[in-house]
Amino acid sequence: MASVPAVLASEWTKIRTVASTSWTLVSAFVVTVALGAALCALTKAQFHNLSDLERATFDPTLVSFTGMVLGQLAMVVFGVLVVGTEYSSGMIRTSLAAVPQRTVFLFGKISVATVLALVVGLVTSFLSFFLGQALLGGHRTSIGEPNVLRAVFGAGLYMALIAVFSMGVAAMLRSSMLSLGILMPFFFLVSQILAAVPGAKEVARYFPDQAGAKIMQVVPQAMGSDKTPYGPWGGLGIMLVWVAAALLGGWLVIKHRDA
């Protein structure tokens, strides 16, 4: 058996020696923090223009994570490229001719990328939170308030899970282009649009991003959002089911298809 530590060491070398890793992760960090900060500053300035409902359910923690709507797309690109470039470059043939144990190979790769995504996700979420709260002025909350730490930690977890989900999808589709072509419009458009359409939103709330994002809310039905049949952890659980399904699919594909 190619030992697990050997595969992890190899995958760590692989992931740190391509440019795409740094630019996708740096984009995820910069976009999330910067956009979150900008929207916090804007919210503070326009607070009096918010509706009564929004003011009643104002959730300063959630507002500081608004940048994730765009930042998660960089995480999607990171996840897709980590797995997809093996296929698009043909590197998969060289890799699998060296590690015949495909299960160890795939999960070794995904583990290394997940840890990296989680570290970047947590740094991003904590920085977004503190910067956002500083900019919210009098409307701020603090990390010591009930459930706030859970939301901040959950936001980092959410970013990592988005990346893992993308890795699973890329392993299933075996193509960076195809995976990005499906995931980007899905997370950026389809999911967000359906979430706003009456009727469709009952389905959309079970999508991985909609369900998982619940963990970032401190106030129930924050910012006038609809009541959901699941709580913050329930939402994260739904997202985990999606991630597990994507990984299972990716594993079945690499296990059974010719490389």
Partner: protein
Amino acid sequence: MIEAVGLTKRFGAKTAVDQLSFQVRPGHVTGFLGPNGSGKSTTMRMIVGLDRPTSGHVTINGQPFRELPNAQRHVGALLDAKAVHGGRRARTHLLALAQLSGIPEKRVDEVLGVVGLQDVARQRTKGFSLGMGQRLGIAAALLGDPQVLLFDEPVNGLDPEGILWVRNLMKQLAAEGRTVFVSSHLMSEMALTADHLIVIGRGRLLADMGVSDFISLNSADFARVRAAGTGRAERDALAELLDGAGARVLTEPDGALRVTGLPLPRISDLAHEAGLRLWELSPHRASLEEAYMRMTQSAVEYTSTEDPRAELWAQEEQGLKPWPAEEAPQVSAEGWYAPPPPGAAAAPFLMPAQPGDLAQAPASRPTTAEDPR
């Protein structure tokens, strides 16, 4: 030792590899020949477990590849020179592979030196030429110092110096007692590199034998005979005589006769008894290329609808007619084969006789590869 038993691979309705059984033994360079699309690469991919056989199996030292512990220490494979992430540097690419089998980092620098890439080790591989890619692939194959080595078309894209290097490397690896399995569609290259041949066509085994056996079994050696004098009369008399003695006689454009089916001393005796003088009586041995062309003619997968090969035959036929061709042009061309270009068998890649010759003319080196003659 690689052993394939009844190896079969189907892609939908198409059978790429059909009931292939062979053994590749250690201590030899075994050439794997076949026209394009004959299933060479698919077979190699099945050996290293990238493709799963539809039926049959292939083992390396008695074990299926996917069950080998520390595969790289047993098998090194160059399957595709372009199968690298172009954004990664050459050295880190090899390092990532080395770490998979716990191969020390020092070995990475060793193999980079072996393949001559030490100066570009820190460049990203997307800037590499095909030849540099091949060298990188060979470096990856050598990483684990394996006993079994597979190379799929290793000389593609290499310059003459590189081809010579690969050839010597293969021979050296085999001399160290390793199993070396090299695929190619370049017969002439195999003639110089391989000791043993496995030839396939349309996924089926056509031959599994030594190189010299392959040539003698699949080609007719011939004698070139030239009657004294330049007139037609002498030539026709000689041709008639040899034809009568049971030989197959073809005429060459310059008036010489190409005789098969009679040993050289017998030709001399016949001519002497008939009172005919000879200006030339020389033995000719067919090259591996010819032997291979004859064998795989029926197994060529991709022939264009224009069939340029048939045109090639027809053109050359004008210059080389069966005797007495002028009177009977309908004589079948069956059994006829292309004459080897002068010296081609000995130097298929326009290689200088001495490797040192290359170094003496470095200025002209880039052009030698394309220069037809």
